[in-house]
Subunit: 200 residues, 2 copies
């Protein structure tokens, strides 16, 4: 397969992905914002989130910042600003902040060095706990522990489920397809010989 | 936070996930089928896909099989059978095949030991290339290389993008929420000082 064709095709195979803006800063507080679709859940207690960064991709500035400061935020991309989020993947110079370039707003809480994205309705801060290079293809896996969550309490169900679809978080497929998600059903905990129920 | 509340909440944070059925077999060809939402893209060339298995979760039988045979398949869950897919997460006995228990159909190609899920429209076979325990929380990361893809050619765009939404693949949020995805737009490759275009 031709290189670009192959990239589109293989990236489609793993299925729908989350779309997040990774916000970082260097020690001087100069910010960086990068669109990523490689965020994955690793565990709830402790609350661990992984992400994959390719060594020569645009988010390498983000990786340098994470290693320098040990903190970063992830901010769900919503339908209202997915085009601006996508534009952060353009190859801007090191000293240009993508916040300014694409028109999104940095928002600071407490004394955290790194900003959140004001426009995002589901966002959380992480501290770096592990990074490792996967020898098989030189990608970098970054693991962080969630230290703070900022979201809209009206989307939080009584059992802890956060209804991110109601907050217009988008899904991504392949390299560049953005999708709206519509709930089919929540299903009860499965047990042998017991009929599933729809929750809520 | 209470344990179950925390599990729902933290699982919601990483955003939308893919829903796949992991099909495996032991050396005797006895099959196992497990719902997973931890599949992630690792690279296109070679075509590498990762997945995370918790040590005490139901898919541990799947992990034993993968280590025994070195091969497995991933099969997108579609809207037409997401309840059956969810039911595979019930704690069946080792010797009970979830295919039989939930009413999905194993389908064999060539001389591959492991089946695909006949009902799935996007499915691929992998060979195990790496597994490692993440020390931080004892989860297992399994990395496989794609060796065969079976899908509907009508969903393949000319640039390699596979339109999985048109094949009714579902997205997952949290532990138990299933969602339909609807395309907003595909966006052109982003460059500084250039307006994004919608593709197709």
């Amino acid at each position: 397969m031709e290189r670009r064709f192959r990239a589109h095709f293989i990236n489609s195979l793993s299925g729908f992905k989350s779309g997040s803006l990774l916000a970082t800063a260097n020690a001087n507080g100069e910010t960086n914002l990068a669109m990523i679709s490689s965020v994955f859940h690793l565990g709830a207690d402790p609350a661990l989130i992984g992400l994959i960064i390719r060594p020569h991709s645009v988010p390498r500035h983000s990786l340098e910042n994470i290693l320098e400061t040990g903190v970063y935020t992830l901010n769900h991309v919503a339908e209202e600003f997915f085009k601006q989020a996508h534009q952060t993947s353009a190859n801007y110079l090191r000293e240009e902040s993508e916040f300014t370039q694409v028109g999104l707003t940095p928002e600071y809480y407490d004394d955290l060095l790194v900003p959140f994205v004001k426009e995002s309705s589901v966002k959380y801060a992480l501290k770096l706990v592990e990074q490792q290079k996967l020898k098989i293809n030189d990608t970098i896996m970054v693991i962080g522990e969630v230290t703070k969550v900022i979201t809209d309490p009206s989307a939080l169900n009584s059992d802890g489920y956060l209804d991110i679809a109601s907050l217009n978080s988008i899904a991504i497929s392949g390299l560049d397809c953005y999708l709206r998600a519509e709930k089919l059903a929540r299903l009860s905990y499965a047990k042998p010989d017991q009929q599933l129920k729809e929750l809520g």
